[in-house]
Each structure stands twice: as structure tokens, then as C-alpha cells.
């Protein structure tokens, strides 16, 4: 009953002024769980799915979503999680954070527990062994492809080429220091980018 009145109210309102409907927390949670249960292929696949679903539901325009997504990329952490949390924060305020968090985390966690259990149990079967070997073999190829894609999209200048090469070399030569190295590198890169901005 309550839901019905609410729906009618928002329909009347949207008749007067075209503003996105505000979803209920539970509806938002269900959507996030659904997206994160059935979308395979990681962040680059899931982000466009989120954008279109949110717009289809009338909860957020695609352009607004991609603004949030641009911000989400500046943070560490999975893109799907970061975008979902920023969207939820925008729609519901701080109480949206745990909803988005659980919606993104729960489905893969349960799926992976199941898969890990199955592999533990049947991992010694030769056919499954071969499947895993074959599947694992493509990983370096996929990483190379992503390097290719990101590099061809990047707007390069000499400074960025040198920065990338030096950082990659340091990471390769000092694997045990990769974490502190990266943290320092990002700060330095940020300041170099900032310094060079007025020159361009």
C-alpha cells in the first residue's frame, strides 16, 4: 500500500518536473546484487552494465554516472565497488555505503567459496587439471592485450614514456619493494603531472 502511494506520488511529481525517481534501498540492493551475480569479465564489463541499468530504472542519468565513475577511478579498489559506493552515497547518503558494499561483495564471495570448494574436491581429476592449465595459459596474453589497449589509448609524451619505463623497470627489479615503491611513485607522478600542466 505504502509502495503504491509512493509510486503514484513520484509519477505525479515527474509529470510536473523531470527529475530521476529515488529508489528504495532494497530495490537498489537487489539491482546491485543482480548485476554482480551475472556480469562476468571484471570492471570494464560491469561499469557499462551499471550505467545502462541505472538509467533504465530512472535512478540516475548515464552522464551523471560516468562523472561518478571518473571519480571512482581515482581511488584504489575494484571499479565496480567504488562506483557502486559513490552512486549509493549520492542516492542515499551515508546509509547507502553498507548496502552497496554488501551488494558488490556478497555474490562473488559466495560464488568463489563454492568454486574453491569444488576445485579442492575435484582438483586432482586430470581433465579439470588440464582445463585449469589451459585457462591459466591465456592470462599473460590477456595482460599483454590490456597493455596494448591502454597504451594505444594513452596520450603519450616523452616524459610519460620515461616515467612508465622507469617505474616498470623498478617494479621488475625490486619485486619485494613493489608496494612502497608504488605508493611513492604515485605521489611523485602526481606532482610531476601537476608541474607540467602549465607548460602545455
Amino acid at each position: 500500500m505504502k509502495g503504491y502511494t509512493r509510486q503514484r506520488w513520484s509519477r505525479q511529481k515527474s509529470g510536473e518536473k523531470k527529475s530521476p525517481d529515488k529508489p528504495r534501498l532494497i530495490d537498489f540492493f537487489v539491482l546491485i546484487v543482480r548485476i554482480n551475480s551475472f556480469t562476468l569479465g571484471g570492471g570494464y564489463v560491469i561499469v557499462p552494465v551499471m550505467a545502462t541499468s541505472l538509467e533504465k530504472k530512472g535512478w540516475m542519468d548515464e552522464s551523471e554516472f560516468y562523472d561518478l565513475f571518473a571519480r571512482a577511478q581515482a581511488f584504489p579498489g575494484p571499479m565496480a565497488l567504488n562506483s557502486a559506493m559513490l552512486v549509493s552515497l549520492k542516492l542515499f547518503g551515508i546509509k547507502g555505503i553498507p548496502v552497496a558494499f554488501l551488494g558488490v561483495i556478497l555474490p562473488p564471495f559466495l560464488a568463489l567459496i563454492l568454486v574453491s570448494g569444488l576445485i579442492q574436491r575435484y582438483g586432482s581429476l586430470p581433465a579439470l587439471r588440464r582445463f585449469l592449465d589451459g585457462a591459466g595459459a591465456v592470462v599473460p596474453g590477456l595482460i599483454a592485450a590490456l597493455i596494448w589497449k591502454n597504451s594505444t589509448k594513452r596520450s603519450w609524451n616523452i616524459l610519460r614514456v620515461v616515467e612508465t619505463a622507469v617505474l616498470a623497470l623498478l617494479l621488475i627489479l625490486l619485486p619485494s619493494l613493489s608496494l612502497p615503491l608504488l605508493l611513492v611513485a604515485i605521489v611523485i607522478l602526481y606532482f610531476i603531472e601537476g608541474l607540467c600542466k602549465p607548460l602545455k
Binding site: L40, Q73, N82, I105, L132, V138, K149
Partner: protein, 178 residues
Amino acid sequence: MQTFEVIWTFFKIGIVSFGGGWSIVGIIRNEVVPRWINEQEFLSLIAIAQSTPGPIALNTATMIGWEQGGFVSALGATLSVVTFPVIAILTATYLARFLKLRADTLNESLKTGSIAMMLMALWALKPTSVDPVLIAFALGAFALAAFTKINALWAILGSGALNAIAGPAIRALLGIKG
């Protein structure tokens, strides 16, 4: 103790997990190989993480946690890998008024960082086996993912299925030991 070690390791990994999944693979590899699993197992793990729903860093954390200490470690690793990102987002939201980081400048420096991270990952995971069938799978996956819009998932599942079903026959035909 093992559980604590897994949690601490994935917390640290979470701090530098920017750049969209794949860039973090090399960092995870340096932290867990050969301490907990070997190179071959790690590659399979990444393939599974990529072909199941959910972010790759998260899925890897869940699986390694599970292998090291069952459910508790799996839960701990999963939560710890996202602890820092969640704190960062919450803090930034409240500090946005005081702290003016330029998002475009930051994104440019993160792009440089993530390409370097992926180069390191490629170096760390470069095929060491001389099995020509597996190397052919890697090259095929590169071509598919770099030059078509086909979801990389199909390369993973396709190579896995092909190797499971026809692997021994292909190797016998080529006269190599599997």
C-alpha cells in the same frame, strides 16, 4: 597466525589496487608466489577469478584465503583487500572541502602507474613453459583481446575446454609430451 598473515597481505595489496583489476595481478603474484602457491596454480587462479562474477582482486583474495585457512581466512582476505579503498572513499568524501586534489591530474598519474604495473605483471607471468599448445593459447588470447571486442572470458573458457578435451590428442599429434 596464517589467517592474520593472509589478512595483512591483502590489506597491503588493497592500498595500491588502482587501475582496474588487471594492473594489480603482478603485485598479488609477488606477494603470494612462491610463499603460498606456485606459478602454475597462480595463473589458473587468475583465470578462475576472471571468469567468475566479481572483481579480480576480490576473487583472488577469497580463493587464496580459502586455500590457506578455510572460510575464516577467505572472509578475512576478502574484507581486508577492500578495507583501505572503503576508508579512502569515506575519508575523501568528508575531506573534499579541505583537500583539493585535482582528479584529472591524479587520473593521469594513475594511468602511468597502472601501465607500469601491467608491464611488471607481464614480466612476472611471462610463459616459462615450452609447451607450444599453451603458448599458442596465450598468443590467441592476445589477438582476441587486443583486436576484437569479444569478452576475454571466452578466451579463458575456450582454452580451458580445448585443453581439457583435445589437449592430449593435439600433443600426441605434434609428438610432444604434455
